[in-house]
Symmetry: C2
Subunit: 401 residues, 2 copies
């Protein structure tokens, strides 16, 4: 069966007019394919429901996921109605009707299994299945949600389960860009990108795809395409590294302002102290990203700096302050006014001098580097948030993007 999966996010389904536009796009594709369309809730809907829940302090519960997953029920019903109105054989399906089986956590459930039997049964009588993104069902028969951006993961999971030819992720931009076009007007659309590069981009701030969806596509070697629901241009293909003929040294520059910097000063420089600190962070589910440890000059006291997600700012402060007696530090400071700038490219693996060029460019612009982290295909630096734009623009230029 020649099948594709098409996913549309919240802004693409925000009202009936936009749903009609999706119906047009589906009508074009349905001539050559059977299609699973995966939809999010209308933009703003999930935030509204979240605010209701907040009033009752309901979080990560049967209740919160029940409420949060109601929005897709509306969009899939409406799109299927719009498609039928155009004479297309269509059927809407909720997560539990597939079923998409998840684990038992709420608001961040992981997909364990997608049953493709019913999908294939419905395709015998229909050309389009309109599937609710973001949701699944656990073994207790309770509705779960996959977390914000989870509809991308639904799309990739269903595409893998039915062995789809391609999974198209429609957004309001034309694809993945060399950097944020809002900052650098010369940013260009990337035509092909490896899974690894896309993963680094997603995790360093490019908000195009849910990180887990890219991981899942990579694992299943499923071709992803990011494209716009507003134009008919080709988007960005995300494919296996092996299939990339020309590997760019630097494919893109991304940034994230969601970081916070934590500095613990005057800590006793003895073995096991780092393990204690990062053990505390792990116990409290706080992800630590970059770490800089200053070796003490006197051999007694040291400073440790690391970065966390801004959402964990208050929790981190409380956790460390409550452990003051164990850690025996002199002072603690937290700073939200930082940004992480990353350059990403498969070609880095075989090319030297990429990091040097990055550091020189930042130095030339008088931007101080507060911390560094690297992977095989990525270099990230932490800088003062106010330098974000100039850093992005100068790096975009120096790597000829």
């Amino acid at each position: 069966m020649n099948t594709i999966v098409m996913k549309f996010g919240g802004t693409s389904v925000a009202n009936n007019e936009k749903l009609r536009n999706i119906a047009e796009i589906v009508t074009r594709e349905v001539k050559n394919h059977k299609i699973v369309v995966v939809l999010s809730a209308m933009a703003g809907e999930t935030n509204k429901l979240q605010s209701y829940l907040d009033e009752f302090g309901s979080k990560n519960s049967i209740e919160s996921d029940l409420v949060l997953t109601s929005g897709e029920q509306v969009t899939i019903g409406l799109l299927s109605a719009a498609l039928k109105n155009k004479g297309i054989k269509s059927i809407p399906l909720l997560g539990w009707q597939v079923p998409i089986i998840t684990d038992e956590s709420y608001e961040k459930a992981k997909i364990l299994k997608v049953d493709n039997n019913r999908i294939e049964k419905y395709f015998k009588e229909n050309d389009v299945i309109v599937l609710a993104g973001f949701q699944g069902i656990n073994i207790n028969g309770k509705i779960t949600s996959l977390g914000r951006g989870g509809s991308d993961t639904t799309a990739v999971a269903i595409a893998s389960a039915i062995d789809a030819q391609r999974c198209d992720i429609y957004t309001d931009v034309e694809g993945v860009f060399t950097t944020d076009p809002n900052i650098e007007k010369n940013a260009k659309k990337i035509s092909k990108l490896s899974f690894e590069e896309m993963l680094e981009m997603s995790s360093t701030g490019a908000k195009v795809l849910h990180t887990r969806s890219v991981e899942l596509a990579m694992k299943n070697n499923l071709t992803l395409q990011v494209l716009s629901s507003l134009t008919q241009n080709t988007g960005t293909l995300i494919i296996d590294e092996e299939d990339l003929i020309e590997k760019e040294i630097v494919s893109g520059v991304s940034y994230s302002k969601n970081e916070a910097k934590v500095t613990i000063s005057g800590i006793l420089d003895k073995p096991g102290i780092s393990a204690k600190i990062f053990g505390l962070m792990a116990e409290n589910n706080i992800n630590v990203d970059m770490i800089v440890q200053n070796i003490s000059q006197d051999g007694i006291f040291a400073n440790i700096t690391f970065t966390i997600n801004q959402k964990d700012h208050d929790l981190t402060k409380t956790v460390i302050e409550n452990s003051e007696k164990i850690l025996e530090y002199k002072s603690l400071s937290l700073d939200k006014n930082v940004a992480k700038i990353s350059v990403i490219g498969m070609g880095m693996m075989s090319q030297s001098g990429v990091a040097e060029k990055m550091f020189k460019t930042l130095a030339k612009n008088a931007i101080n580097i507060l911390a560094i982290s690297t992977s095989e295909i990525k270099i990230s630096v932490l800088i003062d948030e106010k330098h974000t734009n100039i850093a992005v623009k100068s790096l975009h230029e120096v790597y000829n993007l």
Copy 2:
């Protein structure tokens, strides 16, 4: 198990403040009972969703019921969260999770079976089950809805299935009144009413309870109570006729402005002509209520007048006009400016003169009767709509209500 069912409609769940009020009421009752709370969607929500569907012309379909049943998912999640917040052991359940099995029609599905096993299982670990009203699931695994007001029916069906002690229907009025307090300020709350009287009141315009829910309660001899979510006063008990000690001759006066009058004039007065007309109506699912046939003076031509629901006005006009050649009538007129006024009471069965008093009262007020229909416990008359208030007020007075 000492169990009660409590049902709250759309205006009672319209926002978080109102949901908190329900949580208070449930907290009072949970000391002595296990409780199933049945909720509607937030007031206005179903109308909003209906307007989206109308744009795509989706009606009585998998899609329309999927969209229309999304609202209760929000309210049950929020109320269960509010109850947990107060330390009450609560769990939310959707129709398909019970399951409430319905037939295969959409937007007017009938409940075939309510499985009480899961309810009883959940009561082992919870004191409150918050159940979505209005919805069920058919044998194809598709979500169905029971039609407007269907949450009353859900409440009665679940109460019957678990053999509840009582089913309390909370509304924004204090119970069933002798007539509409908006018209007659002396209208009084009725403390006890038979199922039969309540059925006649529901079907003649008192909008307190969904007719089907009363039928179902009567069939299962389940005590219903209509009461206010805004006060702590006792409401109206709706019970078996046998349990009514004092049977009022007239319990209440109701009215409906949803009627339309159809008059077919100059029709050949020959056998079978009525059967033809009302056969046509039945074929097109148009309910006919009152019928008046004038016997022709010349023995050749007759007039037939009958009433229908206003929503069927246009359809009726088309159907009759399209059958002009078969029916051979001279003229057709339809009139929406009519109202049906009914007096209802169990005591009528054993008391004469009730109708006479009604006709005299209307005559004294110069109100012309356009049609009459009666049952054992009800007399209805059709009048010009502009006389509604004076008819209701004068009848309410003459029967000492």
